[in-house]
């Protein structure tokens, strides 16, 4: 809905609710919630935690955007996980194998990652539009396949090398690195955080100012109305999945080019799933996703302090889970309340002339079924 209140209220309610839930959980388990929260907040000021949070949030942000692009048209790209990992390993292999001037080298690696992510997402997209295979099923299976592909690619007899007890790709030469902004003891901010910002702005512009974004949102809200309006549903599915995959392909770039320079078998996984949660939390809106990503990163990073004060850090997982569940409920509740308020306002401003009677009731039920899915994030 249009109002700021309608957008901000649900996540705030959800966070407050889950904080309460965690407080109760902690109290029941005998820990002191106040100390835990204090420890988490003060942790942000310690060492490199603040910078780590931002770095981590940037990665989450990309994953969540990738998911959000699909959500805009009710496509559930649960395969972001597989797409980003396959893209990461491919980009690392290509990056190590080529030799280009500084800057261009990194650009090529990033493009390879985006293209690989898109290509891997093309599989569920094509299966959906040609064979009507649901993208959730195919992309979950492709996640499992991705793990195997990666293990194969980084074998020593393929493109990998053994390092100590770990195995990974060859290191990318320095010309392919993207430097960060150093804060001394406070850590180093990934240079690609700025690319992430640009992508976020680009996403907003695309969703709200371009024909493509309009068609995407229209398809998400009502595939039938979109079709009557001349939107080619199959083409939209393909393009949306490819874009989602391309953004997913970038997920590991800040870490790969800014810190690791190699893809290891132990490189972090799970960002794709975190992205789903954050996209839900941020309601597919680029600003909302940014806040969600920061919150998530804060919870992740500062939870390390909890063990020091005798609070199990797993409480954060409970909190994250309950935030996602309650935010989904809160959005729906607020959406209904707002729609009702809106209709009441329209009715009041027009005066209660009888002609809205039965019609208003009918539209109420239609509207709520039509848009229970998450699809209004990019609006305005």
């Amino acid at each position: 809905m249009g109002t700021l209140r309608g957008r901000l209220l649900p996540p705030v309610l959800a966070i407050v609710f889950s904080a309460l839930l965690c407080t109760v959980t902690l109290m029941v388990s005998g820990a002191n919630p106040a100390r835990g929260i204090a420890a988490m907040v003060t942790q942000v000021g310690e060492g490199s935690v603040a910078v780590d949070i931002v770095n981590s949030a940037a990665v989450y942000y990309l994953a969540a955007l990738a998911v959000a692009i699909g959500f805009q048209m009710n496509l559930f790209n649960i395969g972001v996980e597989g797409q980003f990992r396959v893209a990461a390993v491919t980009a690392a292999i290509v990056g190590a194998a080529i030799d280009l001037p500084t800057g261009l080298h990194a650009v090529v690696i990033i493009l390879v990652a985006a293209l690989t992510g898109a290509a891997y997402a093309a599989i569920p997209a094509l299966l959906k539009i040609t064979r009507n295979v649901h993208e959730v099923i195919s992309s979950i299976m492709l996640n499992a396949i991705a793990a195997g592909v990666i293990a194969l690619l980084i074998r020593e007899d393929m493109f990998g090398e053994l390092r100590g007890s770990n195995i990974g790709t060859h290191e990318i030469p320095e010309s392919g690195w993207v430097g960060g902004i150093g804060f001394g003891d406070r850590g180093t901010l990934f240079g690609l955080v700025f690319l992430v910002l640009v992508i976020g702005v680009g996403y907003w512009v695309m969703m709200n100012r371009t024909r493509f974004g309009f068609e995407l949102r229209a398809s998400g809200e009502s595939p039938t109305a979109a079709a009557a309006g001349g939107v080619n549903a199959r083409r939209m599915i393909l393009v949306a999945m490819l874009m989602s995959g391309a953004v997913a392909g970038l997920v590991s770039m800040p870490e790969l080019l800014g810190r690791d320079h190699t893809y290891l078998i132990t490189s972090p996984a799970g960002y794709g799933f975190t992205g789903i949660a954050i996209a839900l939390l941020g309601r597919n809106h680029p600003g909302g996703i940014a806040l969600g990503a920061l919150l998530w990163a804060f919870l992740d990073k500062s939870s390390l302090a909890l063990d020091n004060v005798g609070v199990p850090k797993e409480i954060v997982t409970i909190m994250q889970g309950s935030i996602v569940l309650s935010v989904v409920i809160a959005y729906e509740v607020v959406r209904r309340v707002e729609l009702r308020a809106e209709r009441r306002r329209v009715g009041r401003e027009l005066g209660a002339n009888g002609d809205g009677g039965a019609g208003a009731v009918a539209t109420a039920s239609t509207a709520s079924t039509a848009s229970t899915a998450s699809n209004e994030g990019g609006a305005s």
Binding site: T210, F214, R343, G354, G357, A360, V361, T366
Partner: protein, 579 residues
């Protein structure tokens, strides 16, 4: 009308008020129904009739007011309470399980009454005798036509012990001959002491069936009338509070310039078994409104979707001003000049949660004033043009930022008409353009379509409202089972004649309905089903054909219609189904 003592009153509603967010659906409604009468509740679409009946049936609770049934005050929390005191409701949209038999449908949910076996069967047979409904209890509902489905709905209600039956716009889905049959049954049941509440806005029907009439306007009852003395005009004026609009177009603006041409359009069903559209040839000229009459489910929806490109045709051609559009998609067809008013505005016409200006963009996302070159939207342009539509088409809204779902049906429809007439279309494909809208919006929509026609627009009009069809059209074609089987002259044809042609039951020349191409499969046999004809095998139809004894089919001797001569398939006989 003698004075009624309280025991004679089947239903008394007093001071009923029901508010919904933003509107008062019913305000201080008073209604008295005597036992054993057919009481009509008349009012325009959206006047609050359905809400009132939902209250009487326990589906909604009134905010104020009292309900008395058979002299006792009652309070319904759910339809079960209403059923318990003998009130039943036959909904406008049937609520039947298609894949079950008549018996199963009737018994479903009421198994405790007479079991599910022999006793239930005997009870149904008994009710069938009382009402004069001859339906095979073992027929699968899927195989039944609309009129028979309605009978099953009525049986369901009676089986549950209803003595007071609410019929919610029962004739909306029927053709005139079926309406007459329904009335015969209703009269027979009235003789046996059943009470009917008959909801309708069709004045002729109301006057022919009702013993008394209550008129409802803008949510409140404005008076009662005696059907024996009241005229249509008086009733209409009670209903709308002013003079009724008329769809009539004044003078012909038809030119000889063809705009939309369909050549042997054929659309095969998904399973490839049948033709949903068969060899449809149609020309709509500039300044001409071509109306398509037909019982719903005979290919009109498919025809519209084939024209706008939402369905791929199996063979044939779609031409717009000579340009072949057969191979291009919906967007290109819209850009070429096809405007489209879909039959279901919620499913196909609007993005309900989006603001009005975003709805202005839908279908026009590639064109000014809502779009710029290079794939950019022109949001300011869209806002400005939406303001214009709101002004010119009298869309009642507090602003263009409200979501489309917040508008009433009539205003949503005005927005759609405004949008579809904005892109300088050369042809407008309008499917049921005034379905479910209030009378004011209806008048405005008719006016706008007439103006656009006068300015040279070609219009393909599909409507179930035969008055609208006859009033607006320059030419009427009748569609039956995916074929255009007859042509009628709107200046001379009557709704009854058109209804007969729609069922293929009787086509006769005096009404100006030209039979052309009622082919061997027999337009003379009733289509057993109007809604999901897809499910059935066409070849069985001949055997299943029913309604062959329609009272209105006329004398076989009236012979074949005057063939228009452009059709070599030959004209079939018009005998009522003597196959």
């Amino acid at each position: 009308m003698t004075t009624t003592h309280p025991g004679d009153r089947a239903v008394v509603l007093a001071g009923i008020t029901k508010r919904f967010p933003g509107v008062v659906a019913n305000r201080d409604v008073r209604l008295t129904v005597r036992r054993g009468e057919v009481h009509a509740l008349c009012g325009e679409n959206g006047a609050g009739k359905s809400t009132l009946m939902k209250i009487l049936y326990g589906m909604q609770q009134p905010d104020e007011g009292t309900i008395e049934v058979n002299g006792e005050q009652v309070r319904f929390r759910s339809p079960a309470d209403a059923i318990a005191v003998g009130i039943g409701m036959v909904h406008q949209h049937f609520m039947l399980a298609d894949n079950l038999t008549v018996l199963e449908n009737v018994v479903l949910g009421a198994e405790h009454l007479h079991g599910i076996g022999g006793r239930a069967r005997r009870r149904i047979a008994e009710l069938g005798r009382q009402t004069g409904f001859a339906i095979d209890p073992d027929a699968v509902v899927e195989q039944l036509g609309v009129a028979d489905r309605q009978r099953v709905e009525i049986l369901k209600v009676l089986y549950r012990g209803a003595r007071i039956v609410i019929l919610d716009e029962p004739t909306a889905v029927l053709v005139p001959q079926e309406v007459e049959e329904l009335f015969v049954s209703v009269r027979a049941m009235r003789e046996q002491g059943y009470t009917f509440l008959f909801i309708s806005h069709k004045l002729d029907e109301v006057r022919s069936i009702a013993d008394s009439i209550t008129v409802i306007r803008r949510g409140t009852t404005v008076g009662t009338a005696d059907p024996r003395t009241v005229s249509n005009r008086q009733l209409a004026e009670m209903m709308v509070g002013s003079e009724l609009p008329s769809p009539e177009t004044r003078e012909s603006t038809v030119t000889d310039r063809p705009v939309l041409e369909l050549r042997s359009l054929t659309l095969r069903s998904a399973d490839g078994q049948r033709d949903l559209l068969h060899d449809v040839d149609l020309v709509v000229r500039a300044g001409e409104i071509v109306g398509i009459a037909g019982v719903e489910g005979n290919g009109q929806t498919e025809l519209v979707e084939a024209v706008v490109g939402m369905r791929r045709i199996s063979s044939g051609q779609v031409l717009l001003s000579g340009r072949d559009l057969t191979r291009v998609g919906t967007l290109a067809r819209r850009e070429a000049g096809i405007g489209y008013v879909p039959e279901d505005r919620h499913r196909h016409g609007l993005l309900l949660t989006q603001p009005l200006w975003a709805n202005r963009i839908l279908g026009y996302q590639t064109r000014p004033p809502v779009s710029r070159r290079g794939g950019w939207l022109d949001i300011d342009g869209a806002r400005r043009d939406t303001e214009r539509i709101v002004r010119e088409f009298d869309v009642r809204t507090p602003g263009i930022e409200v979501p489309a779902a917040a508008l009433s049906g009539g205003n949503q429809q005005k927005l759609i008409i405004g949008r579809e007439l904005s892109g300088e279309p050369s042809v407008l494909v309008a499917s049921h353009p005034t379905r479910g809208v209030d009378v004011g919006a209806q008048a405005l929509i008719w006016e706008q379509i007439k103006d656009a026609r006068a300015a040279g627009l070609a219009v393909l009009l599909i409507s179930a409202d035969l008055d609208e069809l006859i009033g607006l059209s320059d030419t009427i074609k009748v569609m039956l089972r995916g074929r255009l089987v007859a042509e009628a002259d709107p200046r001379t044809v009557t709704p009854e004649e058109l209804g007969a042609a729609m069922t293929g039951a009787g086509v006769h020349e005096r009404g100006g309905v030209d039979d052309r191409g009622a082919d061997d499969r027999g337009a003379d046999n009733r289509d057993a089903d109007n809604r999901d004809a897809d499910n059935r095998d066409a070849d069985n139809r001949g055997a299943e054909g029913q309604g062959t004894g329609d009272p209105g089919t006329g004398d076989p001797a009236t012979g074949a219609g005057t063939d228009t001569g452009n059709d070599e398939r030959g004209h079939g006989s018009v005998e009522g189904g003597e196959r």
